[in-house]
Structures are given as C-alpha cells and as structure tokens.
C-alpha cells in the first residue's frame, strides 16, 4: 500500500479538464459505438447513411481538434496524470488523421458497393482504428501507447480481411495479424525493459530518469531499440517492412488507402514524441539504428518499387521509401528542430498525396476485385483524363517535384540533414529520389499509352461526386502544401515547439 500511495495515479481522480483533452477521441469513440448500434437499424440499401453519419462525427471531431489546437496553447498540457498529452502535436496529428479518415469514408460507399462489401461494421471498425490512432498520437505513457497501437491494429486486421470471399484479402489479414502481433511482442518487450530500467511508464518521468541514468545502461538501450523496431513495423520501415506490400495489395483498396496514411501518421507522431523528445538524451545511442533504418527504407523501398507491376504494390514500396525520408527528419530531429518540422510537414504532405494516389486506385477499381495491375491503367488518360491527371500529379508529388507538397517535404528533411551535418544521409535521399522518378513516371507513361487494339479496353467505373471531391481536395492539398509553404510549416513548427513531455 505504501507503494500505491507513492503513485500520483492513486491520489487523484480524472476531472473535466482531463476529458476536454480527450474530447476529439471521445467523440469518435462515441461515433464508433453509435455506428455499431445504427448498423442494426439501418436497412442494407441505405448503408450510405452510415457513411454520412461517420462523416458527421469526424467533422465534429475535426472541429473540436481545431478548437483544441488553440485551447491547448503553445505549451500544451498533460492530462490524465501524464498519461496523455493535450498539445499541439497531438492536435496536429488528430487533424491529419481525421481528414484522412473523412476522405476515406467519402470514397468508401462507392467502392464497397461496387465490391459488394458494404457492411455496416466497416464504418465502426474505421472509427475504432481512428480512435486508436488519435490516442496513439497523444499518448505519453507506455501503456497508452501499447493500448492505442493494439486498438488500431486489431481494427485494421479485421478491415484487411474485410473482403471475406477473396483469398488475397484473407491472406493479407492473417499475415498482418501474425506479423503485427509478433512486432507488438518486440514493442512490448522493449517497453518492459524501458519501464524496468527507468522505473516509470510515463514519458516525462522516463525522460527524467534517462537523463539521470547516464552513463549508459545497455538494457535501456536495448529496450529503446526494441521499441523502435515495434514502431518501425507500424510505419513499415525497412527491414521491418516485409508485410507491407502483401497486406496493402491484399486488403480492400479503401482500407489500404486508410491504413497506408493514417497508421503512418499516428506511428510517426509517437516516434517523434518518443525519440526526438523523451529519449533525446540517449540520442547518440539510438541515432545509428534510426539512420540505418532510414537508409534501408529508402533503398529497399525505391529499388523494389522499380520492377513492380501492380500499382498497389508499387505504392506500398513507395510508402516504405517515404517512411525512410520521414525517418531522416526523425534521425536528425534532436537538436535540429527543422528535422521534426520537416517530418511533420512531410507527414501532412504524404497524407494528402498518398491518400490521393490510393483514392484514384480505389475509385477506379473493378467490380469483382481490385484491378491493380499496371495493365489496367493503360489508356486511363484517354478515358478519364482528369483522374489520370490527378494520379500523375500525386505521383509527381511522391517523386518530389516542385509545386507539389512532396517537394517541400523532401526539401525540409534534406535541409535538416544538412543542417545537422549529415550530408551522407541527404545524399542517400537524393540518390534514391532520383531512382524513384523512374517508377513513378513509368506509371504515368502507361496511363498515356493507348489501349492495345486487340485487348478490349477496360471499362473504368464512373468517379462519382464523392470520389471527384476527394480527388479535388487531395490534389488541392498537395498543391497548396507545395506552394504556400508558410501555412503548414508554421503549424508544424508550432506543433514541434510545444511537444509534450518536452524535455
């Protein structure tokens, strides 16, 4: 009992101001529960209403998050006794995640109807995953991090296997499940070590303990590395990426759209919170691993993408490579604020761009199955010029051409690397970027080709107003982030400045 008394946990109960810090998450969680119930009453033909309802919930949460940005203030505050951060970093992440989910929801009904997958639990699972991600973004306790990760993971496991009749989808789900659990075990073991060596599960206290624990504790270092491995799995960084192409390809495209973006955003936020903030005093210990993973991701992702012939797999590998670029920002983020800012900017840019790219694949997917091979894109330009132009634009952004968000993202992380005197890292980035141009542009070239005379032209579905709107929003976002840099860069730097726990 003495020990219990020593804990701040036991001495107080959560108050309203703690709940305010969790308001967006609570709204979405409420939506999740409500959707489960609504699914029972909404007739199958009207399931689009569920999407509308989800959208409303997400918009509400988004509004609250924006309000929260101002409410939390530049310093932010810790809620639930240090277990959760109510700061601008979290709200920034919330906004990105919520926008991502919102756009995913918007393209889902059309896609699901076409694939005959329109079941009500889709939306509730989406909501659950979103809650997990938002919690992850704000978590400042090892326990919350773990719970949030599992919440989002389990939801995504189910969503990956959502196409129950399709073997590919099932295989993807099992792979994701087994490998995800496996990675969680490493994450957990790392957490156990970190907890054991510092005596705390809350980041603020861990950080304090770490700065006291110098000289170095090998077990603690091992724990940090294991935690990084677990999180690197979530952001699909090489060499822990192997599941990514398979799962992205097998999962229904709307799910891939969602998880390729939102998971990465949430997991990166927590990586930034952990490594560039809480574990900053152990920077010299973990930086080599992060740099190695960054380089491996860029190399493996870009090179493997070169010879793909499925757009989903190509985008999966591209996502691996993009994770590598963001990791550059993380790797140099300690002592170089530009690194974290660049990573955050990159995340926002990546969210719009990658979402847009996958959204095109989603709205263009076939009836029975996802037709994702390059052959199915041949001639898209001639039939659906605007969709093709949008995809080309997103691919250019991923490749890092100016006037697109991707350029500014890359520019910022490379700048950070150079500012941190790590020119080699920037050079790796530059070299692999040059390689990446090839496979991105190859896809556009295939779209420009005329369909072969003998092969019957593939009939692409109509885009629909929701799909058009999503493409428009993502394209506009990509353009705005590529030109009016100041907007989001300011936001990113404010988010970076107020990061909790703030060592």
């Amino acid at each position: 009992m003495n020990a219990l008394a020593a804990l701040p946990l036991a001495t107080a109960t959560p108050g309203w101001h703690d709940l305010v810090g969790l308001l967006p998450e609570l709204i979405v969680a409420g939506g999740f529960l409500a959707l489960m119930l609504l699914d029972l009453v909404v007739p199958p033909a009207r399931r689009t209403w569920l999407a509308v309802f989800s959208g409303a919930v997400l918009v509400g949460a988004l509004a609250v998050s924006v309000w929260g940005w101002y409410d939390a203030g530049s310093a932010g505050r810790s809620v639930f006794f240090g277990a959760f951060a109510y700061d601008r970093l979290a709200e920034f992440a919330n906004c990105v995640i919520l926008v991502t989910t919102l756009l995913t929801v918007a393209i889902s009904p059309g896609y699901l109807n076409r694939r005959r997958l329109h079941h009500g639990e889709y939306y509730s699972l989406l909501m659950a995953a979103t809650v997990g991600m938002m919690l992850l973004a704000g978590a400042t306790s090892l326990m919350v991090i773990f719970l949030a990760i599992e919440l989002l993971s389990i939801s995504l496991y189910i969503l990956s296997g959502f196409s129950r009749q399709e073997e590919r989808s099932q295989e993807a789900a099992v792979k994701y499940l087994l490998l995800g659990s496996f990675a969680s075990a490493f994450l957990l073991f790392g957490m156990a070590l970190v907890y054991g060596e510092t005596g705390h599960t809350q980041l603020a206290q861990i950080a304090a303990a770490m700065s006291r624990s110098l000289p170095v504790d090998p077990l603690l270092v091992g724990g940090i590395i294991l935690m990084f491995v677990g999180l690197a799995f979530k952001v699909s960084a090489a060499p822990f990426h192997a599941w990514t192409p398979d799962v992205y390809q097998g999962a229904p495209t709307s799910v891939t759209t969602f998880m390729s973006v939102a998971t990465k955003v949430a997991a990166f936020i927590v990586i930034i919170r952990l490594f560039d903030d809480a574990f900053a005093s152990y920077y010299s210990r973990w930086s080599a691993v992060v740099i190695a993973v960054a380089i491996l991701s860029m190399v493996v992702g870009n090179l493997a993408a070169l010879t793909q012939n499925s757009i989903k797999r190509m985008l999966a590998y591209s996502g691996i490579a993009q994770a590598g670029y963001i990791l550059i920002g993380v790797a140099v983020g300690v002592g170089t604020p530009l690194g974290v800012q660049g990573a955050l900017y990159y995340l926002a840019a990546y969210a719009f761009t990658n979402l847009g790219a996958f959204a095109v694949v989603t709205v263009m997917s076939g009836r029975g199955e996802d037709l994702d091979s390059y052959d199915h894109l041949r001639g898209l330009w001639h039939r659906r010029p605007y969709v093709a132009a949008a995809l080309a634009f997103f691919l250019l952004s991923l490749a890092g051409f100016p006037f697109t968000a991707g350029f500014i993202g890359k520019f910022l992380v490379f700048a950070a690397a150079i500012q941190a005197h790590n020119v080699a890292l920037a050079l790796w980035g530059i070299g692999t970027s040059a390689v990446s141009v090839f496979y991105y542009l190859r896809v556009t070239l295939i779209m420009f080709q005329r369909p072969k005379e003998d092969a019957p032209a593939y009939e692409w579905p109509r885009t629909g107003w929701a799909g058009s709107a999503v493409l428009l929003v993502t394209a506009a976002g990509t353009l705005v982030l590529g030109v009016f840099v100041v907007l989001v860069l300011t936001v990113a730097s404010m988010a970076q400045a107020g990061t909790l726990p703030g060592t």
Partner: protein, 529 residues
Amino acid sequence: MSGFPWLTAILLLPAAGALVLQLIPGRAADLIKGVTVVVAAAEVVLVAIVVYGVATTSAIGGGPLPMHYVEQANWIPAIGASYHLGVDGVSAWILALNAGVFLLGALVVPRRSTERLKLFCGLMLLAEAATTGVLISLDLLLFYVFWEGMLIPLYFLLAFYGNENRGRATLKFVIYTVAGSLLMLLAILYLHFQALAGGHNTFDLEVLLQNPLPAQAGVPLPFTTIQTLSPAMFAFLAFALAFAIKLPIVPFHTWLPDLYESAPAPALVFFAGVVSKMGAYGFIRFGITLFSGPVHQLQPLLVALALLSILYGAMMALSQTDLKRIVAYASISHLGFIALGIFSLNQNGIDGAVIQILNHGIIIAGLFLVVDVVEARTGTRDIRELGGLQKRMPWLYVFFLVITLGALGLPGTNGFVGEVTIMLGAFQYFWLLAVLAGLGVLIAAWYMLRMHQGMMHGPVRAVTEKVHDLRFREGLVLAPLAVLIVLLGVYPHPVGDVTAQAVPGYVTLADASQSPVAIPTAVRYGAVP
C-alpha cells in the same frame, strides 16, 4: 518603373491564361488556340516593355549585380526563402526569347490534329510561366522550384504528344535532369546553411553574393592523407552538373537526340529554343558568380568539355540521316559554343554567350519548324529519301536558306555575331580554343549544307513529287524568324548593348579570386585611352 509589379505580371500571365483555358469547352478548338495565342502575345508585349525598360533605365541596387524591376516579398520566412524577382541585362533578352518562342509554339500548334488541344495549350502556358520564373528568380530556392517545376508541364507535353518512342526518351530526360538538379538542391542547402552560420538566414542570391563562401579545405579521406575536394568545389560541381545536363554539355547530352527525335514540333520550338538555354543561363547567373574559386580551378576542364561538345556534336551531326537528329546534334554543337563563351569567364565570352543564347534560340526554332513542315508534307525525315524540294517549295527554300545560313554562322547572320564574340572571348582565355572552335564552324558548314542541300536540291524524289509550298500561315511563322536572323546579324547592337550593361558585374564576381591559369598580359583586357 512605377509601382506596377511587372515581373509578377509576366510570371502570372501565362499561368492565368492556362486557368482561363480550362473554362473553355474542349470542342471550341479555335477559341482555345486563339486565347493561347493572345495570352502568349500579351506576354510578348509585357516582356517587350520590360526589356525596353532594362535598356533605357539604369539599374537599381548597389549589390554586386544591379537589377531592374526588383520585387521582394517573404515566401517561407522560417528558412529565409523569399519571393525575390529581378531582371538585368543578361536575362532581359533571354526573357524576350522565351516569350517569343512560346508565342511561336502557340502559333504552330496544329489546331485540328492535336488531341486535347486545351491540355496542350494549358501545359505550354504553364511551361512558359515556369521558364519565366527561372529567368527572373533571384532567390535560390525560388529558382530551384521553377527550375524543377518546369519539368512537370514539359514532362506531360513530351510524354503525351510525339511519336511512339516518346515515353522512353522523356523518362530518360526527366530522370537525367532530376538526378542533376537534386544534387543542386543539396548545394543550395549547403549555401543556405553557410550563410546561416554567418548570420544570414537566406536563400537570396544578392545576400549570398555579398557573403562569399569561406575558403574551406577538404577533409582527408579516411585512413589517408588525401584531401577531398573543398565543400565549395562540391557545391559548384553539383550546380555545374545540373546545368551541364540541361544545357547539355557532352558527355551529359545523351537524352537530347532521342527526345528531340520523338517530340512534337510545337513543343520542340520552345524546348530547343529556350528550355535548353536555361542551363547556360544558370551557369552565368549562379555558377560563375557564386563559385568564382572553383570555377577558375576547373576552367580548363570546363572549356575542354565545351569544346568537346562543339566538335562532337558537329561530327555526330555529320553522320546522321534523320533530320531531327541532325538538328539535335547541331544544337549540341551550338550550345557548346555558348558554354565555351561562358567558361572563358571574360566579358566578350559571356556577352557572346548571351547573344548566342538569343540567336540560337531563333535559329533552332526555325530549323525545327522547317523539319516539321517537311515531315508533314513528305512523311519522312530521312535525308536519303528527300531531295528537290526547292522546286516544289520555293518559299520554304528561301526561309530555310536563311535559317541554314544562321545555323552555320555565316557572317551577316545572327549566328555569326555570337560565335565571333565567343571566339574572341575564348581566344582571350586560351588561343587554341578559338582555333578549334573555328574547326567546329567549318564542320557546321559541312553538315548544315549537307542537310539543306539534301532536302532542297537534287532531282525531285518520290516523296517530294506531290508536295505543295508553304501555306500563308506557315510562312507567317517562318518569316519573322528569317527576318530576325538577318536583322540581328546586321544590327545586333540592341542586344549587345543591353547585355554589355550587366556582364561586367558577372565578370567581376567571377574574377573575385585569382585565376590559377596565367593569361599573358598582352591578351588581357586593360585600360582604354
């Protein structure tokens, strides 16, 4: 030079034009083309006003490179990037060339046979906006954004329009270019952080010029005492690579012939006319000014490569049979002259290079138009199948003759003005260069005449049996080029005058450090009575 933001206007006008085009229904081909031409023409008028202003007023700013029409605003204050525009004697005429060739491109877009005309015109106007941006940016990051952003419209233009090999060629071009320019981005970042260390959070060219790079030695390689190149040298190499690829200088040219062969004529007109000149412009504006030390150290290598371009391009042009490839290699050879002028690092050389940029733009646009007309009429570009066109197309012959003469640098045409000035500049650096460049001129006469005569003279062949002469509209496009070739050959003074205003500033910057190659005092320029 009132408060009106002229440069923003010339930057935004084409982009706005591209937007306006989107409001027009795709079926109204005449309207689309009309609007495009009007926008391009309005751009020409605006640029003409700017060039006139540059020619008649004195530059403002006490910086190392006095500019006209300067505009400055914040862009990304956090990292010191600014929206800083300006134009000077070096960029003024290139700007005019830019506007001119895009107008030409707009005029020659085939209205009926171009698929998705609206897209084509829109992309073309966007490309114009980007190239304009490259020419007027005084902020390195802004410059880079336009430099690289230029690729987007160009990529679509070249990838979507053109012959069946376009995909591969375009991809090669884009990847080649991107690889080069990404390294330049690193170098730009290096410059930025060097300035930041000195207390200037900036990408601004003028500020960077006023705070030259500290002379840092390289670091020894691991386990050895061999020094790496200095950081400044690395940075220069990165810039130089980007510009050399775009220019292109042999051996970085291999993307060019394939691309030119597969690209459609209207795109080629401005691609060959002005886009490839951006490399030369970059060398002048950024390469030699920011890196006077490295550029002097590497000067022998650079001039050697320029010379290699001249001779190699000429020899290759001599052995080709495809008209477009002949012109492509001829272009490489001519661009080698421009590079030679720049790397002479003296006033004559750089003046000549700028003059030649303008003149070559006019000539190459003309050549590609002629090739296009001939290909459209006869269905072939193989010189072995052509012949006797003079009989069937006397008007084409007249224009083509003038253009050919310009291309072979005949004195009295504009090609000569630049070449002789460049040769003078090269001579002032090292006499042998001028002699070998003269050899290039000689081979130029050979391959240009081979091409010209092969197409025009000899008996009428099967493919040329039933061709008709230029239509009035086509003549209207070629005639101004021919007139300009002659006019600028007999009265190049306006160009030279504007250019000579600005070039001394560049030479001074390039000369900021001592040249390791001793130039005999007899050929150095000195005081004048």
